[in-house]
């Protein structure tokens, strides 16, 4: 038997198969209280301090619906172009797990609050892909298990487990896409772009913190392959533990190459849950299930049906903020940007910052250039996000103004920005402390120019002979002598004046 390669080359995958994706994204709502009780909905906290009889599932305790959670779900549904159910219920999803206090999750089953919508997703090259939304439904989060001892941190092999129910009952929305087909080699990118777009949408709606690192946004990626030329979906796997935007893309890509290798070798795909391994970008099978899970859903008898009136739904539609794609279109028009410039502006996450810098008095072109180019590079070098950089739009606007006044050259301006990033204070403070102002005193400059001319008489001859471009050598020498603080344009003018 020949060894089977674990993965197939990505291009080869696409020669033989069409990928089909399905993405399930869980978003924790940022309501003040949990979904069915009055406990605070906050991340972290001492274990088991944000709990009560209801979210601990104590005997006799009952749930009461959080109206704000329902409102957020409806707004989210509207922003995803979904239908909003005129009448729907919660259902119980029954299964046993220690971090689930009631051993059923209060969720929605065949009556989701929102269904049948879409989200337009912009890819890196500006192409727009419409991702169908199957449904968005409300449910409650579980507690957290901490498995102590053992090598893996998973329940198997652990010496004991600790349970923290602070998260139990936190409102969640699960958004499920329709099958995403026909994306070919772009499938992994579409997956990332979709989750990115969803994240921007949640931020714009203000309904969630969408921190993937804190688990307030979680993505499960369903991937299957169908042989080219066929139309029947292959067996899918569901990859969990995908905790960053980049991981979404990597996980989908890896599953495509892994499944293709299995299929090309004549094997078949096991329908299973897999875990994404951040370290090497692979997926590994979860614990095999002996029997398929039967959740025995039935309508939650402790809660009354939700029947949002059409008036209320329309009122909520009126509260939707400008949605990300609408804003993109508006900004492009207002600022007169090309498609490529618009893409860079939004892909770097600089749009808000540029807008604030413009509001602080800077011209659009300069503000955009600083944030999209130089500051984005700085963020990348520091492995952080643009908004996390320790510099404010007002500070950037001040730097831009100082360039305009001639107080700073571009090179000096970058030094000033470095100073601000290093925590040395406002731009003016940095300029004063580092002595970075442009040397604009002609007498001081003339001395330097004369000195340079005196040391290079042959160049002076050339200039006087009409070879004006030879002045560069003198300018260079002056700049070197002034440690770059002189305004090169002015130096050049002085050199030419002296040689007349």
């Amino acid at each position: 038997m020949t060894a089977i390669a674990e993965t197939l080359d990505f291009d080869e995958v696409l020669e033989h198969f069409d990928p089909v994706l399905g993405l399930e994204v869980h978003v924790e709502l940022n309501t003040n209280t949990k979904m069915f009780c009055g406990c605070a909905n906050v991340f972290g906290g001492e274990p088991n301090t944000h709990v009560c009889p209801t979210c601990l599932g104590l005997p006799g305790a009952l749930p009461v619906m959080n109206g704000k959670g329902v409102e957020s779900a409806i707004r989210m549904g509207l922003a995803l172009n979904c239908e909003i159910a005129p009448w729907c219920r919660f259902a119980r999803k029954n299964y046993f797990y220690p971090d689930m206090p009631k051993n059923f999750q209060t969720s929605q089953y065949d009556e989701p609050i929102a269904f049948d919508g879409h989200l337009d997703v912009v890819l890196d090259d500006g192409e727009v892909v419409r991702v169908g939304i199957e449904r968005a439904h409300m449910e409650e989060d579980t507690g957290k298990s901490l498995h102590v001892g053992g090598a893996t941190g998973r329940i198997h092999g652990a010496e004991h487990s600790l349970l923290d129910y602070n998260r139990a009952g936190v409102p969640l929305i699960e958004i499920v896409t329709k099958p995403i087909e026909g994306m070919g080699h772009r499938a992994p990118e579409v997956a990332r772009a979709y989750v990115t777009a969803l994240r921007e949408l949640m931020l714009a709606l203000g309904v969630s913190d969408v921190r993937m690192d804190q688990g307030s946004m979680r993505c499960d990626a369903n991937v299957s392959l169908m042989p080219k030329g066929t139309t029947e979906f292959g067996t899918r796997t569901e990859t969990k533990n995908v905790n960053s935007l980049r991981s979404v893309e990597r996980a989908v890509r890896y599953e495509m190459t892994r499944q293709a290798a299995v299929l090309r070798a004549g094997g078949s795909i096991t329908q299973e849950t897999r875990h994404f391994q951040e370290a090497d970008g692979t997926t590994s099978p979860g614990r095999p299930k002996e029997t398929s899970e039967d959740y025995r859903y039935f309508p939650e008898p402790d809660l009354v049906p939700i029947a949002p009136s059409r008036e209320w739904v329309e009122e909520l539609r009126g509260t939707l903020p400008e949605l990300p794609w609408e804003r993109r279109k508006r900004v492009q028009q207002e600022w007169g940007l090309t498609d490529e410039e618009t893409r860079d502006l939004f892909n770097t996450g600089a749009a808000d910052l540029v807008a604030m810098t413009v509001d602080a008095g800077a011209p659009v072109a300069e503000a955009r250039s600083w944030w999209v180019q130089y500051l984005t590079q700085q963020a990348n070098t520091r492995e952080t996000e643009l908004p996390e950089l320790p510099i404010t739009p007002a500070q950037v606007a001040r730097v831009i103004a100082l360039i305009g006044e001639g107080t700073l050259t571009h090179k000096l301006a970058r030094e000033v920005v470095q100073g601000v990033l290093a925590g040395e204070g406002d731009p003016d403070q940095v300029i004063a402390d580092r002595g970075l102002e442009v040397v604009s005193d002609d007498s001081a400059l003339l001395a330097a120019v004369d000195e340079a001319l005196a040391t290079q008489p042959d160049v002076v001859e050339k200039i006087r002979g009409g070879k004006v471009q030879a002045a560069g050598a003198i300018v260079g020498a002056v700049m070197k002598a002034t440690k770059g603080q002189a305004d090169a344009k002015r130096v050049r003018e002085l050199v030419l004046e002296r040689c007349q």
Partner: protein, 500 residues
Amino acid sequence: MNVIKQTAAELAARIHSGELSSVDVTQAHLDRITKVDDQLNAFRHVDAEGALAAAAKVDADIAAGNPPASPLAGVPLGLKDVLTTKGVPTTCGSKTLEGWLPPYDATVTRKLREAGVPILGKTNMDEFAMGSSTENSAYGPTRNPWDTSRIPGGSGGGSSAALAAFEAPLAIGTDTGGSIRQPGAVTGTVGVKPTYGGVSRYGLVAFSSSLDQAGPCARTVLDAALLHEVIAGHDPMDSTSINSPVPNVVEAARQGASGDLTGVKVGVVTEFSGEGYQQGVLDSFQAAVEQLRALGAEVVEISCPNFAYALPAYYLIAPSECSSNLARFDAMRYGLRVGDDGDRSAEEVMSASREAGFGPEVKRRIMIGTYALSSGYYDAYYGSAQQVRTLITRDFAAAYSQVDVLVSPTTPTTAFRIGERVDDPMAMYLADLCTIPANLAGNAAMSVPSGLAADDGLPVGLQIMAPALADDRMYRVAAAYETARDAAAGGALINQIPEL
């Protein structure tokens, strides 16, 4: 004057006038419990300290000239062990909750405390309210004070036996399929299942959420009405609690006691007679109907054809909900834990604990419910049962368009002997034949003593049913009937009970 033989209304009047102290009244009942409960096992737990402290507070209030906290302030009560009591054991008749001290009060418990009602202790019951004889209590059966070889009904046999044995003048029961009314009938006491949602379920350890309803138990209709008004009312902690005024049941009971039922239309449910009905029960019922006619009521026969399917529908819905409600008893957060030896997994400990903690009837219903909800069977079982429920609700609606109240025997037979039906679940389930329809429809229903059966000399109950939110109607009819029956019989039925 024998304090323990007084009605709650009489005791309240004497306590509020200062003639009797609540402490003395409470102590008299505690003494009675000490004296006779060995023969009955009506109380699971006696809280003498708590009851006397509450009584002392009432006495102090009255001595200070303050108005009583409620019309029942100072009158002690037995609370079914299915309602949580902060810091006082709440076992639900199950081993799984042995030793559990709830950290919170049920809303009913809270209302009783606020009303100044001393809680003598917790009354015995079928495990998790599943049963019709109180033989399913993990702590031994309760015996019927009329004949200690017989059952006191169930699941609330402890509450009804405590009333009949003068251990308490008032008690609280819960009624899922007849657990207040059937024990009332077989012990010659009054039991009321209010309209579903009339009394909060918060803190009532759920058996079947869509059917469970707490209600008052007493020896007279007026006492039941007084207690009804103490515990009823909207509760924001229970989503299924009705947000409308409590029907004025006390006034209705007082009005009814005047004895005139002219203009009241009474429907006799024709389905509740014939095979399976004890002759002595049918004779007593017939006499009761004649009594109502004599009081001026117009009596007509009403057919409710779908009532025939109530029992099978109930035995699908109630177990389905119970299979989910009881899932939380997993040994992780509270309750019995067995097999936690450091080698077993959480699942194994859960499984072993549930095996050890639940009795056979509870396991039987969990299994029936798990099966009925499982994929592929849901529509045939749970789904069909819900359709039957709709049909029964329609039968009631049609009936109430013609009559004000419906009447039937509360139970097909008088109290059976302990052990007689334990091996025959179907025979046991038939005890609730007449009471279940009102639970399925969410309507009000009650049982009032209608004398002793001629064939065995045991108490028989008359069931009076009324539409949802029309609880006052049945109280009026019940009070009129009670007054007339007692006058004709030369005293209250309870006076005929043999001395223990």
